[in-house]
């Protein structure tokens, strides 16, 4: 089966600019996650979708971050405006059965200068 697709692979922007990341989960996976991984740290959950509804966005900085999952398939994560501390890898993951773990994409490395 095809894996979790993410784009772009790399992105460099200036602070205060906006950026968007795209994720296409594995077909049939109802649950989709966005994680932020700062260099030297483990991934931190930003938002979780079940189909096209938000299950948990308690750790999403809502003043600058937004995410949507239209039609319950692919998803976009947006940052506007970006800050220097947003520099990180943004990982998307999906799951069919949570007990089996998640399948991750290769992530987008964001550098804010």
């Amino acid at each position: 089966e095809a894996g979790v697709a993410q784009s772009p692979r790399y992105k460099i922007i200036e602070k205060r600019q906006s950026v968007a990341f795209w994720c296409n989960p594995i077909s049939g996976h109802a649950t989709l996650y966005w994680y932020q991984q700062i260099l030297g740290q483990g991934p931190k959950l930003l938002i979780q979708f079940q189909n096209n509804g938000v299950v948990d966005d308690s750790q999403l900085p809502k003043d600058r971050f937004s995410a949507e999952r239209l039609k319950g398939v692919d998803s976009t994560l947006k940052i506007q405006p970006a800050k220097l501390e947003d520099s990180a890898v943004y990982l998307c993951a999906s799951s069919l059965e949570y007990a089996l773990g998640y399948t991750f994409g290769s992530g987008t490395r964001l550098t804010v200068v």
């Binding site: 894996g3 649950t31 483990g42 959950l45 949570y98 773990g101 399948t103 290769s106």
Partner: protein, 115 residues
């Protein structure tokens, strides 16, 4: 809140030798899952092994096995016959069984396998 601690930021092992990565976690839950993920330079997180808390038997996957000590809240990963391709970051993760089933990660251990 659940926390996951990996006390070894970096480790190294000679090719063909055995290495053990440590992980402890803090929870008041009785039912949960534990995972080890591998993250090579390609950045993709790859599931290595998983353990259900209600199972006493330690999980094994080929050269990878865990030592799950529920009372001690410890979940270590043993890699036998280490290979150069095992070089990567390894993350321990905890999943509480609730409506969200979200996964929480430790800070990771960087493993280097030396030829």
């Amino acid at each position: 809140a659940q926390t996951v601690t990996q006390s070894q930021p970096e480790m190294s092992v000679q090719e063909a030798e055995t290495v053990t990565l440590s992980c402890t976690y803090d929870t008041s839950e009785n039912n949960y899952y534990l995972f080890w993920y591998k993250q090579p330079p390609s950045r993709q997180m790859i599931l290595v092994i998983r353990q259900e808390a209600y199972k006493q038997q330690n999980a094994t996957e080929n050269r990878f096995s865990v030592n799950f000590q529920k009372a001690a809240k410890s979940f270590s990963l043993k890699i036998s016959d280490s290979q150069l391709g095992d070089t990567a970051m390894y993350f321990c993760a905890f999943m509480k069984l609730n409506n969200n089933n979200d996964m929480r990660f430790g800070a990771g251990t960087r493993l280097t396998v030396k030829p």
